[in-house]
Assembly symmetry: C2
Homo-oligomer: 251 residues x 2
Protein backbone atom coordinates (compact mmCIF):
# COMPACT_ATOMS: atom_id res chain seq x y z
CA UNK A 1 0.00 0.00 0.00
CA UNK A 2 1.40 3.38 -1.01
CA UNK A 3 0.08 6.92 -0.78
CA UNK A 4 -0.19 8.53 -4.19
CA UNK A 5 -0.37 12.19 -5.11
CA UNK A 6 -2.18 13.03 -8.35
CA UNK A 7 -2.53 16.31 -10.24
CA UNK A 8 -6.03 16.76 -11.62
CA UNK A 9 -7.40 18.91 -14.43
CA UNK A 10 -11.10 19.42 -14.99
CA UNK A 11 -13.61 21.51 -16.83
CA UNK A 12 -15.81 22.61 -13.94
CA UNK A 13 -18.88 23.44 -16.05
CA UNK A 14 -20.76 20.26 -15.19
CA UNK A 15 -19.45 19.70 -11.68
CA UNK A 16 -21.17 20.77 -8.47
CA UNK A 17 -17.76 21.73 -7.10
CA UNK A 18 -14.78 19.65 -6.06
CA UNK A 19 -15.91 18.16 -2.75
CA UNK A 20 -18.21 15.21 -2.41
CA UNK A 21 -21.18 16.40 -0.36
CA UNK A 22 -24.80 15.60 -0.92
CA UNK A 23 -25.15 12.25 -2.70
CA UNK A 24 -26.27 12.36 -6.35
CA UNK A 25 -24.54 15.67 -7.07
CA UNK A 26 -21.69 15.21 -9.50
CA UNK A 27 -18.38 16.28 -7.94
CA UNK A 28 -14.70 16.02 -8.85
CA UNK A 29 -13.99 14.00 -5.71
CA UNK A 30 -16.89 11.65 -6.43
CA UNK A 31 -15.76 11.00 -9.99
CA UNK A 32 -12.17 10.36 -8.89
CA UNK A 33 -13.39 7.89 -6.25
CA UNK A 34 -15.53 6.09 -8.84
CA UNK A 35 -12.55 5.77 -11.20
CA UNK A 36 -10.36 4.50 -8.36
CA UNK A 37 -12.94 1.89 -7.39
CA UNK A 38 -12.92 0.58 -10.94
CA UNK A 39 -9.20 -0.12 -10.64
CA UNK A 40 -9.46 -1.88 -7.29
CA UNK A 41 -9.33 0.90 -4.68
CA UNK A 42 -11.20 -0.02 -1.50
CA UNK A 43 -10.81 3.24 0.44
CA UNK A 44 -13.71 5.41 1.51
CA UNK A 45 -12.51 8.92 0.73
CA UNK A 46 -9.71 10.59 -1.22
CA UNK A 47 -8.03 13.73 0.15
CA UNK A 48 -8.25 16.95 -1.88
CA UNK A 49 -5.98 20.01 -1.72
CA UNK A 50 -8.45 22.77 -2.42
CA UNK A 51 -12.15 23.19 -2.54
CA UNK A 52 -13.35 24.63 -5.83
CA UNK A 53 -16.90 25.97 -6.21
CA UNK A 54 -19.49 24.80 -8.69
CA UNK A 55 -18.33 25.74 -12.18
CA UNK A 56 -14.70 26.54 -11.27
CA UNK A 57 -12.07 24.81 -13.40
CA UNK A 58 -8.68 23.36 -12.46
CA UNK A 59 -5.46 22.53 -14.23
CA UNK A 60 -3.53 21.82 -11.02
CA UNK A 61 -5.85 20.45 -8.33
CA UNK A 62 -4.10 17.89 -6.10
CA UNK A 63 -5.59 14.76 -4.58
CA UNK A 64 -4.11 11.89 -2.56
CA UNK A 65 -5.17 8.34 -1.68
CA UNK A 66 -3.75 5.03 -0.50
CA UNK A 67 -3.68 2.24 -3.04
CA UNK A 68 -2.26 -1.20 -3.54
CA UNK A 69 -0.83 -0.89 -7.07
CA UNK A 70 1.65 -3.30 -8.63
CA UNK A 71 2.56 -1.22 -11.66
CA UNK A 72 4.29 2.12 -12.21
CA UNK A 73 2.82 5.55 -11.30
CA UNK A 74 2.69 6.21 -15.05
CA UNK A 75 0.53 3.12 -15.54
CA UNK A 76 -1.69 4.33 -12.70
CA UNK A 77 -2.07 7.68 -14.47
CA UNK A 78 -3.15 5.93 -17.68
CA UNK A 79 -5.52 3.60 -15.84
CA UNK A 80 -7.19 6.55 -14.09
CA UNK A 81 -7.54 8.51 -17.31
CA UNK A 82 -9.15 5.53 -18.99
CA UNK A 83 -11.74 5.47 -16.20
CA UNK A 84 -12.39 9.19 -15.67
CA UNK A 85 -15.06 11.09 -17.62
CA UNK A 86 -13.97 13.28 -20.57
CA UNK A 87 -14.19 16.52 -18.57
CA UNK A 88 -11.64 15.33 -16.01
CA UNK A 89 -8.09 13.95 -16.31
CA UNK A 90 -4.97 13.19 -14.29
CA UNK A 91 -1.84 14.91 -15.62
CA UNK A 92 0.71 13.43 -13.18
CA UNK A 93 1.00 10.73 -10.51
CA UNK A 94 3.74 10.43 -7.87
CA UNK A 95 4.33 8.33 -4.82
CA UNK A 96 4.02 10.56 -1.73
CA UNK A 97 5.06 10.15 1.92
CA UNK A 98 2.55 7.97 3.77
CA UNK A 99 1.31 10.89 5.87
CA UNK A 100 1.08 13.36 2.99
CA UNK A 101 -2.08 15.49 3.10
CA UNK A 102 -2.72 17.62 0.00
CA UNK A 103 -4.61 20.30 1.92
CA UNK A 104 -2.78 20.57 5.25
CA UNK A 105 0.67 20.27 3.70
CA UNK A 106 0.09 22.83 0.95
CA UNK A 107 2.38 25.86 1.07
CA UNK A 108 0.38 27.92 -1.43
CA UNK A 109 -2.35 27.91 -4.03
CA UNK A 110 -2.33 29.73 -7.33
CA UNK A 111 -5.47 30.73 -9.25
CA UNK A 112 -5.96 32.37 -12.60
CA UNK A 113 -9.01 34.39 -13.58
CA UNK A 114 -9.57 35.12 -17.26
CA UNK A 115 -11.81 37.84 -18.70
CA UNK A 116 -12.28 39.38 -22.12
CA UNK A 117 -13.58 42.79 -23.10
CA UNK A 118 -16.26 42.79 -25.78
CA UNK A 119 -19.65 44.45 -26.13
CA UNK A 120 -21.16 41.21 -27.51
CA UNK A 121 -21.33 37.59 -26.44
CA UNK A 122 -18.63 35.21 -27.70
CA UNK A 123 -19.75 31.57 -27.49
CA UNK A 124 -16.22 30.30 -28.20
CA UNK A 125 -14.75 31.97 -25.10
CA UNK A 126 -17.48 32.22 -22.51
CA UNK A 127 -17.02 28.72 -21.18
CA UNK A 128 -13.66 29.71 -19.68
CA UNK A 129 -13.82 33.48 -19.34
CA UNK A 130 -15.99 36.33 -18.10
CA UNK A 131 -17.14 38.84 -20.70
CA UNK A 132 -16.71 42.38 -19.37
CA UNK A 133 -17.90 45.61 -20.98
CA UNK A 134 -17.01 48.48 -20.92
CA UNK A 135 -13.34 47.49 -20.88
CA UNK A 136 -11.77 48.04 -17.45
CA UNK A 137 -8.89 50.49 -17.15
CA UNK A 138 -5.61 48.54 -17.13
CA UNK A 139 -3.68 50.83 -14.80
CA UNK A 140 -6.44 50.67 -12.21
CA UNK A 141 -6.44 46.86 -12.40
CA UNK A 142 -2.68 46.72 -11.91
CA UNK A 143 -2.55 49.19 -9.04
CA UNK A 144 -5.40 47.43 -7.22
CA UNK A 145 -3.74 44.03 -7.63
CA UNK A 146 -0.59 45.41 -6.00
CA UNK A 147 -2.65 46.52 -2.98
CA UNK A 148 -3.48 42.91 -2.14
CA UNK A 149 0.10 41.64 -2.05
CA UNK A 150 1.34 40.94 1.48
CA UNK A 151 -0.24 39.84 4.75
CA UNK A 152 -3.72 41.32 5.22
CA UNK A 153 -7.01 40.62 6.93
CA UNK A 154 -9.22 39.82 3.94
CA UNK A 155 -12.47 39.67 5.96
CA UNK A 156 -14.09 42.16 3.57
CA UNK A 157 -13.36 39.84 0.62
CA UNK A 158 -14.53 36.40 1.76
CA UNK A 159 -15.34 34.09 4.64
CA UNK A 160 -12.92 31.80 6.50
CA UNK A 161 -13.69 28.07 6.31
CA UNK A 162 -14.63 27.97 10.01
CA UNK A 163 -16.92 30.60 11.46
CA UNK A 164 -14.92 32.94 13.72
CA UNK A 165 -11.75 31.68 12.00
CA UNK A 166 -9.02 34.11 11.01
CA UNK A 167 -9.34 35.93 7.68
CA UNK A 168 -5.65 36.82 7.62
CA UNK A 169 -3.95 35.51 4.49
CA UNK A 170 -0.62 36.16 2.80
CA UNK A 171 -0.80 36.99 -0.90
CA UNK A 172 2.60 36.31 -2.48
CA UNK A 173 1.70 37.37 -5.98
CA UNK A 174 -1.16 39.24 -7.64
CA UNK A 175 -1.15 40.84 -11.06
CA UNK A 176 -2.93 41.24 -14.36
CA UNK A 177 -1.57 40.19 -17.78
CA UNK A 178 -3.09 41.68 -20.94
CA UNK A 179 -3.42 39.64 -24.12
CA UNK A 180 -5.32 41.18 -27.07
CA UNK A 181 -8.79 41.94 -25.65
CA UNK A 182 -8.23 39.63 -22.66
CA UNK A 183 -6.91 40.10 -19.15
CA UNK A 184 -5.83 37.33 -16.87
CA UNK A 185 -5.42 37.79 -13.13
CA UNK A 186 -2.84 35.56 -11.45
CA UNK A 187 -2.94 35.35 -7.70
CA UNK A 188 -0.99 33.17 -5.31
CA UNK A 189 -1.53 32.99 -1.55
CA UNK A 190 -0.82 30.67 1.35
CA UNK A 191 -4.57 29.99 1.37
CA UNK A 192 -7.77 31.68 0.24
CA UNK A 193 -11.03 32.52 1.93
CA UNK A 194 -14.29 31.17 0.57
CA UNK A 195 -15.12 33.11 -2.66
CA UNK A 196 -12.06 35.33 -2.20
CA UNK A 197 -10.60 35.22 -5.74
CA UNK A 198 -13.96 35.86 -7.40
CA UNK A 199 -14.64 38.77 -5.04
CA UNK A 200 -11.18 40.26 -5.60
CA UNK A 201 -11.78 40.07 -9.36
CA UNK A 202 -15.27 41.54 -9.15
CA UNK A 203 -14.11 44.47 -7.02
CA UNK A 204 -11.09 45.23 -9.21
CA UNK A 205 -13.21 45.20 -12.38
CA UNK A 206 -15.90 47.39 -10.78
CA UNK A 207 -13.24 49.92 -9.75
CA UNK A 208 -11.51 49.74 -13.15
CA UNK A 209 -14.86 50.47 -14.82
CA UNK A 210 -15.30 53.51 -12.60
CA UNK A 211 -18.09 52.03 -10.48
CA UNK A 212 -16.18 51.90 -7.20
CA UNK A 213 -13.29 54.03 -5.97
CA UNK A 214 -9.84 52.53 -5.52
CA UNK A 215 -9.80 54.26 -2.16
CA UNK A 216 -12.86 52.29 -1.01
CA UNK A 217 -11.09 49.07 -1.95
CA UNK A 218 -8.02 50.13 0.04
CA UNK A 219 -10.20 51.08 3.01
CA UNK A 220 -12.04 47.73 2.84
CA UNK A 221 -8.68 45.97 2.98
CA UNK A 222 -7.90 48.01 6.10
CA UNK A 223 -11.25 47.00 7.62
CA UNK A 224 -12.62 50.53 7.33
CA UNK A 225 -15.19 50.16 4.55
CA UNK A 226 -17.71 47.74 3.13
CA UNK A 227 -17.57 46.64 -0.48
CA UNK A 228 -20.16 44.88 -2.66
CA UNK A 229 -20.42 41.15 -1.93
CA UNK A 230 -20.90 40.30 -5.61
CA UNK A 231 -18.77 37.66 -7.32
CA UNK A 232 -17.13 37.39 -10.70
CA UNK A 233 -18.66 34.31 -12.43
CA UNK A 234 -17.16 30.91 -11.61
CA UNK A 235 -16.47 30.04 -15.25
CA UNK A 236 -13.51 32.47 -15.52
CA UNK A 237 -11.65 30.88 -12.61
CA UNK A 238 -9.08 28.08 -12.72
CA UNK A 239 -7.09 26.55 -9.86
CA UNK A 240 -3.69 26.44 -11.55
CA UNK A 241 -1.28 25.09 -8.96
CA UNK A 242 -0.91 23.91 -5.38
CA UNK A 243 2.66 24.07 -4.10
CA UNK A 244 4.30 22.05 -1.32
CA UNK A 245 7.53 22.35 0.68
CA UNK A 246 10.32 20.98 -1.51
CA UNK A 247 11.19 18.13 0.81
CA UNK A 248 7.66 16.81 0.66
CA UNK A 249 6.51 16.22 -2.89
CA UNK A 250 6.81 17.63 -6.34
CA UNK A 251 4.35 20.35 -7.20
CA UNK B 1 -37.77 45.33 -46.17
CA UNK B 2 -33.96 45.12 -46.26
CA UNK B 3 -31.51 42.28 -46.76
CA UNK B 4 -29.21 41.92 -43.76
CA UNK B 5 -25.85 40.21 -43.53
CA UNK B 6 -24.88 38.86 -40.11
CA UNK B 7 -21.62 37.37 -38.85
CA UNK B 8 -22.24 34.38 -36.59
CA UNK B 9 -20.09 32.71 -33.95
CA UNK B 10 -20.98 29.38 -32.40
CA UNK B 11 -19.62 26.57 -30.33
CA UNK B 12 -20.44 23.61 -32.59
CA UNK B 13 -20.32 20.96 -29.84
CA UNK B 14 -24.08 20.67 -29.49
CA UNK B 15 -25.10 21.41 -33.06
CA UNK B 16 -25.82 18.83 -35.74
CA UNK B 17 -24.04 21.09 -38.22
CA UNK B 18 -24.93 24.45 -39.69
CA UNK B 19 -27.69 23.55 -42.18
CA UNK B 20 -31.28 22.89 -41.26
CA UNK B 21 -32.06 19.37 -42.50
CA UNK B 22 -34.04 16.72 -40.73
CA UNK B 23 -36.52 18.32 -38.34
CA UNK B 24 -35.78 17.95 -34.61
CA UNK B 25 -32.01 18.05 -35.08
CA UNK B 26 -30.54 21.19 -33.57
CA UNK B 27 -28.74 23.25 -36.24
CA UNK B 28 -27.21 26.71 -36.46
CA UNK B 29 -29.60 27.69 -39.22
CA UNK B 30 -32.60 26.43 -37.26
CA UNK B 31 -31.64 28.38 -34.12
CA UNK B 32 -31.07 31.57 -36.12
CA UNK B 33 -34.48 31.19 -37.77
CA UNK B 34 -36.11 30.65 -34.37
CA UNK B 35 -34.49 33.82 -32.99
CA UNK B 36 -35.56 35.78 -36.09
CA UNK B 37 -39.15 34.60 -35.74
CA UNK B 38 -39.20 35.88 -32.17
CA UNK B 39 -38.39 39.38 -33.44
CA UNK B 40 -41.04 39.35 -36.16
CA UNK B 41 -39.37 37.69 -39.17
CA UNK B 42 -41.86 35.92 -41.41
CA UNK B 43 -39.46 34.36 -43.92
CA UNK B 44 -39.08 30.63 -44.46
CA UNK B 45 -35.33 30.16 -44.73
CA UNK B 46 -32.17 32.16 -44.08
CA UNK B 47 -29.19 31.90 -46.45
CA UNK B 48 -25.89 30.58 -45.07
CA UNK B 49 -22.37 31.07 -46.48
CA UNK B 50 -20.79 27.77 -45.56
CA UNK B 51 -21.89 24.41 -44.42
CA UNK B 52 -20.13 23.31 -41.25
CA UNK B 53 -20.29 19.69 -40.09
CA UNK B 54 -21.59 18.45 -36.78
CA UNK B 55 -19.26 19.65 -34.03
CA UNK B 56 -17.39 22.24 -36.12
CA UNK B 57 -17.19 25.73 -34.60
CA UNK B 58 -17.36 29.15 -36.23
CA UNK B 59 -16.25 32.65 -35.38
CA UNK B 60 -17.03 34.06 -38.83
CA UNK B 61 -19.97 32.20 -40.41
CA UNK B 62 -22.13 34.51 -42.54
CA UNK B 63 -25.90 34.41 -42.94
CA UNK B 64 -28.38 36.65 -44.74
CA UNK B 65 -32.14 37.24 -44.60
CA UNK B 66 -34.78 39.81 -45.52
CA UNK B 67 -36.40 41.63 -42.64
CA UNK B 68 -38.65 44.58 -41.96
CA UNK B 69 -36.74 46.31 -39.15
CA UNK B 70 -37.35 49.88 -38.00
CA UNK B 71 -34.27 50.24 -35.81
CA UNK B 72 -30.52 50.27 -36.43
CA UNK B 73 -28.43 47.23 -37.48
CA UNK B 74 -26.79 47.49 -34.05
CA UNK B 75 -30.17 47.16 -32.37
CA UNK B 76 -30.89 44.15 -34.58
CA UNK B 77 -27.62 42.59 -33.44
CA UNK B 78 -28.60 43.07 -29.79
CA UNK B 79 -32.14 41.77 -30.38
CA UNK B 80 -30.79 38.62 -32.05
CA UNK B 81 -28.26 38.00 -29.30
CA UNK B 82 -30.99 38.31 -26.69
CA UNK B 83 -32.92 35.57 -28.52
CA UNK B 84 -30.13 33.19 -29.50
CA UNK B 85 -28.98 30.34 -27.22
CA UNK B 86 -25.74 30.80 -25.20
CA UNK B 87 -23.65 28.71 -27.61
CA UNK B 88 -24.42 31.00 -30.54
CA UNK B 89 -24.09 34.78 -31.07
CA UNK B 90 -24.09 37.47 -33.75
CA UNK B 91 -20.95 39.61 -33.76
CA UNK B 92 -21.93 42.06 -36.52
CA UNK B 93 -24.93 43.09 -38.61
CA UNK B 94 -24.88 45.10 -41.84
CA UNK B 95 -27.36 46.04 -44.50
CA UNK B 96 -26.49 44.15 -47.72
CA UNK B 97 -27.51 44.59 -51.36
CA UNK B 98 -30.98 43.11 -51.92
CA UNK B 99 -29.59 40.27 -54.08
CA UNK B 100 -26.67 39.43 -51.76
CA UNK B 101 -26.16 35.69 -51.32
CA UNK B 102 -23.65 34.70 -48.62
CA UNK B 103 -22.65 31.47 -50.36
CA UNK B 104 -22.68 32.30 -54.07
CA UNK B 105 -21.09 35.73 -53.58
CA UNK B 106 -18.29 34.54 -51.31
CA UNK B 107 -14.77 35.06 -52.66
CA UNK B 108 -13.05 32.84 -50.11
CA UNK B 109 -13.39 30.93 -46.85
CA UNK B 110 -10.81 30.72 -44.10
CA UNK B 111 -10.65 27.90 -41.56
CA UNK B 112 -8.42 27.33 -38.57
CA UNK B 113 -7.61 23.91 -37.12
CA UNK B 114 -6.11 23.76 -33.64
CA UNK B 115 -4.23 20.83 -32.13
CA UNK B 116 -2.06 20.33 -29.07
CA UNK B 117 0.65 17.80 -28.39
CA UNK B 118 0.37 15.98 -25.09
CA UNK B 119 0.53 12.34 -24.06
CA UNK B 120 -2.43 12.82 -21.70
CA UNK B 121 -5.95 14.15 -21.99
CA UNK B 122 -6.53 17.84 -21.19
CA UNK B 123 -10.19 18.54 -20.37
CA UNK B 124 -9.66 22.32 -20.53
CA UNK B 125 -8.55 22.23 -24.17
CA UNK B 126 -10.24 19.27 -25.82
CA UNK B 127 -13.47 21.06 -26.55
CA UNK B 128 -11.71 23.22 -29.15
CA UNK B 129 -8.61 21.25 -30.13
CA UNK B 130 -7.39 17.82 -31.16
CA UNK B 131 -4.90 16.13 -28.84
CA UNK B 132 -2.09 14.60 -30.87
CA UNK B 133 0.72 12.35 -29.61
CA UNK B 134 3.54 11.77 -30.46
CA UNK B 135 4.15 15.40 -31.40
CA UNK B 136 4.23 15.86 -35.19
CA UNK B 137 7.43 17.15 -36.78
CA UNK B 138 7.06 20.90 -37.41
CA UNK B 139 9.12 21.06 -40.60
CA UNK B 140 7.09 18.28 -42.17
CA UNK B 141 3.86 20.09 -41.30
CA UNK B 142 5.11 23.32 -42.84
CA UNK B 143 6.43 21.76 -46.03
CA UNK B 144 3.21 19.78 -46.57
CA UNK B 145 1.07 22.88 -46.05
CA UNK B 146 3.06 24.66 -48.78
CA UNK B 147 2.26 21.81 -51.19
CA UNK B 148 -1.45 22.62 -51.04
CA UNK B 149 -1.11 26.29 -51.99
CA UNK B 150 -2.30 27.04 -55.52
CA UNK B 151 -4.84 25.59 -57.91
CA UNK B 152 -5.12 21.81 -57.59
CA UNK B 153 -7.56 18.98 -58.08
CA UNK B 154 -8.26 17.99 -54.46
CA UNK B 155 -10.31 14.88 -55.35
CA UNK B 156 -8.09 12.76 -53.08
CA UNK B 157 -8.93 15.01 -50.11
CA UNK B 158 -12.70 15.39 -50.20
CA UNK B 159 -15.90 15.25 -52.22
CA UNK B 160 -17.44 18.05 -54.25
CA UNK B 161 -20.93 19.19 -53.16
CA UNK B 162 -22.50 17.72 -56.31
CA UNK B 163 -21.57 14.25 -57.47
CA UNK B 164 -19.43 14.46 -60.61
CA UNK B 165 -18.72 18.11 -59.73
CA UNK B 166 -15.23 19.54 -60.08
CA UNK B 167 -12.78 19.02 -57.21
CA UNK B 168 -10.50 21.81 -58.41
CA UNK B 169 -10.01 24.46 -55.76
CA UNK B 170 -7.60 27.35 -55.29
CA UNK B 171 -5.85 27.48 -51.93
CA UNK B 172 -4.59 31.03 -51.34
CA UNK B 173 -3.00 30.41 -47.99
CA UNK B 174 -2.02 27.36 -45.94
CA UNK B 175 0.39 27.25 -43.02
CA UNK B 176 1.00 26.12 -39.46
CA UNK B 177 1.64 28.43 -36.50
CA UNK B 178 3.29 26.98 -33.37
CA UNK B 179 2.34 28.24 -29.91
CA UNK B 180 3.79 26.43 -26.86
CA UNK B 181 2.63 22.81 -27.28
CA UNK B 182 -0.03 23.82 -29.83
CA UNK B 183 -0.14 24.10 -33.58
CA UNK B 184 -2.80 25.90 -35.54
CA UNK B 185 -3.36 25.35 -39.24
CA UNK B 186 -4.75 28.33 -41.17
CA UNK B 187 -6.09 27.65 -44.62
CA UNK B 188 -7.91 29.91 -47.03
CA UNK B 189 -9.40 28.83 -50.36
CA UNK B 190 -11.99 30.00 -52.86
CA UNK B 191 -14.11 27.07 -51.64
CA UNK B 192 -13.60 23.72 -49.93
CA UNK B 193 -14.70 20.20 -50.69
CA UNK B 194 -16.76 18.28 -48.18
CA UNK B 195 -14.45 17.23 -45.27
CA UNK B 196 -11.44 18.76 -47.03
CA UNK B 197 -9.88 20.72 -44.14
CA UNK B 198 -10.19 17.83 -41.69
CA UNK B 199 -8.65 15.43 -44.24
CA UNK B 200 -5.81 17.83 -45.02
CA UNK B 201 -5.09 18.10 -41.29
CA UNK B 202 -5.28 14.35 -40.72
CA UNK B 203 -2.93 13.60 -43.59
CA UNK B 204 -0.39 16.25 -42.58
CA UNK B 205 -0.33 15.02 -38.99
CA UNK B 206 0.00 11.37 -40.08
CA UNK B 207 2.95 12.30 -42.30
CA UNK B 208 4.53 14.50 -39.60
CA UNK B 209 4.29 11.58 -37.17
CA UNK B 210 6.08 9.35 -39.68
CA UNK B 211 3.03 7.24 -40.56
CA UNK B 212 2.71 8.36 -44.16
CA UNK B 213 5.35 9.64 -46.57
CA UNK B 214 5.32 13.25 -47.76
CA UNK B 215 5.83 11.85 -51.23
CA UNK B 216 2.54 9.91 -51.03
CA UNK B 217 0.76 13.12 -50.08
CA UNK B 218 2.32 14.91 -53.06
CA UNK B 219 1.37 12.05 -55.37
CA UNK B 220 -2.23 12.04 -54.04
CA UNK B 221 -2.44 15.75 -54.87
CA UNK B 222 -1.30 14.89 -58.40
CA UNK B 223 -3.99 12.19 -58.62
CA UNK B 224 -1.41 9.41 -58.60
CA UNK B 225 -1.93 7.88 -55.16
CA UNK B 226 -4.59 7.09 -52.61
CA UNK B 227 -4.41 8.39 -49.07
CA UNK B 228 -6.33 7.38 -45.94
CA UNK B 229 -9.86 8.77 -45.85
CA UNK B 230 -9.70 9.42 -42.11
CA UNK B 231 -10.60 12.81 -40.66
CA UNK B 232 -9.16 14.98 -37.93
CA UNK B 233 -11.92 15.41 -35.30
CA UNK B 234 -14.50 18.14 -35.88
CA UNK B 235 -13.89 19.80 -32.51
CA UNK B 236 -10.51 21.28 -33.60
CA UNK B 237 -12.00 23.10 -36.58
CA UNK B 238 -13.36 26.66 -36.73
CA UNK B 239 -14.73 28.56 -39.73
CA UNK B 240 -12.95 31.86 -39.14
CA UNK B 241 -13.92 34.11 -42.03
CA UNK B 242 -15.86 34.32 -45.28
CA UNK B 243 -14.66 37.10 -47.58
CA UNK B 244 -16.59 38.95 -50.29
CA UNK B 245 -15.62 41.24 -53.16
CA UNK B 246 -15.01 44.71 -51.69
CA UNK B 247 -17.82 46.38 -53.58
CA UNK B 248 -20.34 43.95 -52.13
CA UNK B 249 -20.24 43.87 -48.37
CA UNK B 250 -17.86 44.05 -45.48
CA UNK B 251 -16.25 40.79 -44.50
Amino acid sequence: MERYQVILAYDGTHFAGSQRQVPKRRTVQGELEKALKRIGWSGTSVLMAGRTDTGVHASGQVAAFDLEWRHSPDDLCNALNANLPPDMAVSAVDVAPSDFHPRFDAASRRYRYRLFCQPRRDPLRERYAWRVWPAPDGETLQSLARLFIGRHDFAAFGSPPRKEGSAVRTVMQAGWQPHDDEWSFDVQADAFLYHMVRRLVYVQVAAAQGNLSAETVARALAGQAQIPAELAPARGLTLVQVTYPQNLVKS
